[in-house]
Symmetry: C2
Subunit: 134 residues, 2 copies
């Protein structure tokens, strides 16, 4: 499944599969709730008490560089990380703060003015109020 295929990807790219990195990967695969660095760090620290936040930052940076994880920047105060790299949108509830995924068809988006631009990454996010908070 996802976790296993990610491990293979890392091996293929000669990225060491250290215990810390495996735990972070596992956490992202199991918690697809777009966690912040602090959430990842705090939760994994329960099983690895010596874990450093720097390691979390380093690992996430590497995973993003390799294109295995995406950064979500909706608020300037926090980066969130998403192991689901397929095209999808994010909805942030301005009341509870939760982030919801929704499916989109990027190809359906009509946009003009990008001739000769090389596009690597497409992000769509909405803000509003979720049904539970309504």
């Amino acid at each position: 499944m996802m976790f296993e295929s990610l491990k293979k990807e890392l091996k293929k790219r000669n990225i060491n599969l250290s215990y810390q990195r495996l735990k972070i990967l596992e956490y992202l695969a199991q918690n697809q709730c777009h966690p912040t660095v602090d959430q990842i760090y705090t939760d994994i620290q329960k099983s690895i008490p010596t874990l450093s936040k720097t390691t979390v930052y380093n690992t996430l940076k590497k995973l993003v560089e390799e294109g295995l994880v995406r950064v979500i920047n909706i608020e300037d105060t926090e980066s969130r990380y998403d192991i689901n790299i397929e095209d999808h949108g994010h909805f942030k509830c301005e009341n509870c703060g939760n982030i919801f995924d929704f499916s989109i068809n990027m190809d359906s988006l009509v946009c003009n003015g990008l001739d000769n631009f090389r596009i690597f990454d497409r992000h769509v996010y909405f803000k509003g109020i979720c049904p539970q908070c309504s």
Copy 2:
């Protein structure tokens, strides 16, 4: 034009048109390049040497709350401000860092999973390399 209609909007909402605020508004209207707080502060300080960054933050916060200005969060390290509040997308060149506008038709975007969500704000941004940097 834009600057004048913005002034009217502020008056309507009982927001004092202080000298500092007018200069910030004028700057945003004339520099639709999605400036950061620091760019706004540095440039306006040339004509208002006593200007404080706090005032820039306060003013922008107010303008965003009133829906007259939008915040663009593409990178976690910087918030950018856009006085153009009509639907449009942003393209950030990963080489030169410039942000380009492009037109989009939000209504054309097919998305599922947002029944009963109240949407206030829609953002679309792409990342890649601009023609000049290619």
